[in-house]
């Protein structure tokens, strides 16, 4: 067992991803896994579908391996009004989950696997923006 996980939370200036619990899965199984994202108060990240073409969307991409990310499901974004935009902005704020549905290959080797992913985001508050960042995350899956 790798719980508690041997790595700390994945974090940057204003955004933290809590280390996900280790998951046990069988070959051929499809299972969900959630990443808990925590944003510092007052900050937001653009949602996965911002209305403005120039805004950088939230993205989560997983490496391909014995586990395949079938679908990444973002929460429903909030439409927030900020002083810098005449229109509401599609954002995520506070704490939220990003779910990923994984499928284990039928011929996946058994044992413990670390699935690596990259969370790309760009954070702002109502006065300023921070540069876009990519946070590396990982999920431990025990395939049986």
């Amino acid at each position: 067992m790798l719980w508690p996980p041997p790595w700390p939370a994945f974090a940057s200036d204003v955004l933290t991803v809590a280390p996900p619990r280790q998951i046990t899965a069988r070959r051929g199984q499809t299972f969900p896994a959630a990443l808990r994202v925590e944003l510092r108060g007052g900050f937001h990240v653009n949602s996965n579908a911002p209305a403005d073409e120039y805004l950088i969307p939230l993205r989560l991409a997983w490496e391909v391996g014995p586990l395949q990310a079938v679908e990444v499901v973002f929460p429903k974004p909030r439409l927030e009004k900020y002083g810098f935009s005449p229109k509401p902005v599609s954002v995520f704020t506070g704490d939220f989950d990003i779910a990923t549905n994984f499928r284990v290959a039928a011929d996946a080797p058994t044992g413990l696997h670390l699935v690596k992913g990259k969370l790309r985001y760009q954070a702002c508050n109502d006065k300023l923006c921070l540069p876009p960042k990519t946070l590396e995350v990982q999920l431990a899956v025990d395939i049986r």
Partner: protein
């Protein structure tokens, strides 16, 4: 352009602190500055960047003018609201020796910045930023970050984050109305020495 801290970031930040005279950016807070007294102003670091036409641009070319130097990016919402203000300032005060210089920190470079300039019809010069320029200006880890530079090439104020149009205009008018004080010293020499120390 990665906009990542280079190996010598710490040294660069120290340099920026030296050059910017303590008006370094504060990462997560908004800094609404007022004009520094002339005697307290430090030389604005020299840079050599390219504009949208590929023409090299040095800050020293603007000596004798008041320069509003704005670090921005196309993805920065608060930056976007300032752009029309800066266009208006450029138009209104250029005959009095004022110029706006925008430094884009977009990682994608001109591919995304040029269409943006055209779409929003920016009437002032936009340059493509580099990690080094960001570093020597204090790190510029938040956008917008805007420096108001006096006719002698010294930093008169710094704003990190969005401030009001009236605050900008008040400072611009004040600095345009102020006749040049005694030179703040060997600007080029100080910058060159500090940059040389990074190499």
């Amino acid at each position: 352009m990665s906009w990542k801290f280079p190996r010598k970031a710490a040294a660069a930040l120290m340099l920026a602190g030296l050059l910017a005279g303590g008006c370094k950016s504060t990462r997560l807070s908004v800094n609404a500055a007022t004009l520094k007294p002339a005697k307290d102003r430090k030389p604005a670091p020299e840079f050599d960047l390219k504009d949208a036409a590929g023409k090299p641009v040095k800050l020293s070319e603007y000596k004798g003018k008041v320069v509003l130097l704005n670090f921005w990016a196309t993805w920065c919402g608060p930056c976007k609201i300032e752009i029309p203000w800066f266009m208006e300032f450029e138009q209104q005060y250029k005959d009095r020796g004022f110029a706006v210089l925008g430094i884009s920190m977009d990682e994608e470079g001109w591919e995304i910045v040029k269409p943006y300039i055209e779409k929003y019809k920016l009437n002032y010069r936009v340059l493509l930023g580099t990690d080094m320029v960001a570093q020597i200006y204090g790190g510029v880890d938040s956008l917008p970050t805007t420096f108001l530079i006096d006719r002698e090439g010294r930093i008169a104020s710094v704003h990190v984050g969005l401030v009001s149009k009236s605050d900008y205009e008040k400072e611009i008018v004040e600095i345009l109305d102020t006749r040049a004080a005694a030179s703040g010293g060997a600007r080029g020499g100080a910058v060159a020495a500090a940059v040389a120390g990074l190499r």
